[in-house]
Symmetry: C2
Subunit: 112 residues, 2 copies
DNA sequence: CCGCATCCGATTGGATACTG
DNA sequence: CAGTATCCAATCGGATGCGG
């Protein structure tokens, strides 16, 4: 990107950087992804591990991630209803990005 | 982060991931950074290379980046007034992150 | 248990016009 | 040239209460 020639003049969704940013941006999104990186989880488990997120926002994040093909949703039979959320292969590919975000943030916090 | 023990329960600014995300988030921010990665630039040069950004937003981005210690601002003497914006060493450290964003985005776009 | 519906305040980004 | 000053529409995130 710094050394690439094909440059984007404006923030289009077709720009790879924008696409990646869209996948991880939004409040709580990275935390939801982090929990799912540990393995599949139900709605309630996620809510329990992120006690301060509201159900509405959790739903929004989960649906957004699913619409982006990053998370798979599966309704389990039985009662009470249970839903299983898991990362798709595409979702797994975000791991290096999250690690790089962590490393970069550490550097910034240490230095600022 | 995925394998780290010290986990953040909510989106705090002290979380490295949040800090890194804050540095690159916001519309136009990555494009401004990309231009500055090529080298120092004046306000007008940036505006010329990003023809669709409004002066207000460009100012906001530049000031935000400066407040975050990522960009250095220098007023040059003479007339007409010129201002030189350049990445600080901290700003340079964002390069690997931008590259990772690009790579991840490519994968997502190819696969979705 | 797993959400959806509604409302609401705050923040964001864009358009436009003007100044040192 | 390099911004500032307003105004405004749209989006976002949080709170709360109900439904399948």
């Amino acid at each position: 990107m710094p050394t690439e020639p094909g440059r984007t003049p404006r923030p289009e969704p077709t720009c790879p950087v924008e696409a990646a940013l869209a996948a991880v941006s939004g409040r709580w999104t990275t935390l939801v992804l982090r929990e799912l990186m540990h393995g599949p989880s139900s709605f309630g488990d996620l809510a329990a591990r992120l006690p301060e997120i509201s159900p509405k926002v959790l739903t929004e994040r989960l649906h957004g991630l699913r619409d982006g093909g990053l998370v798979h949703r599966e309704r389990l039979a039985g009662f009470p209803v249970r839903t299983r959320y898991a990362l798709t292969p595409a979702g797994e590919t975000l791991r290096p990005l999250l690690i790089e975000l962590y490393r970069t943030g550490e550097r910034l916090l240490r230095h600022a």
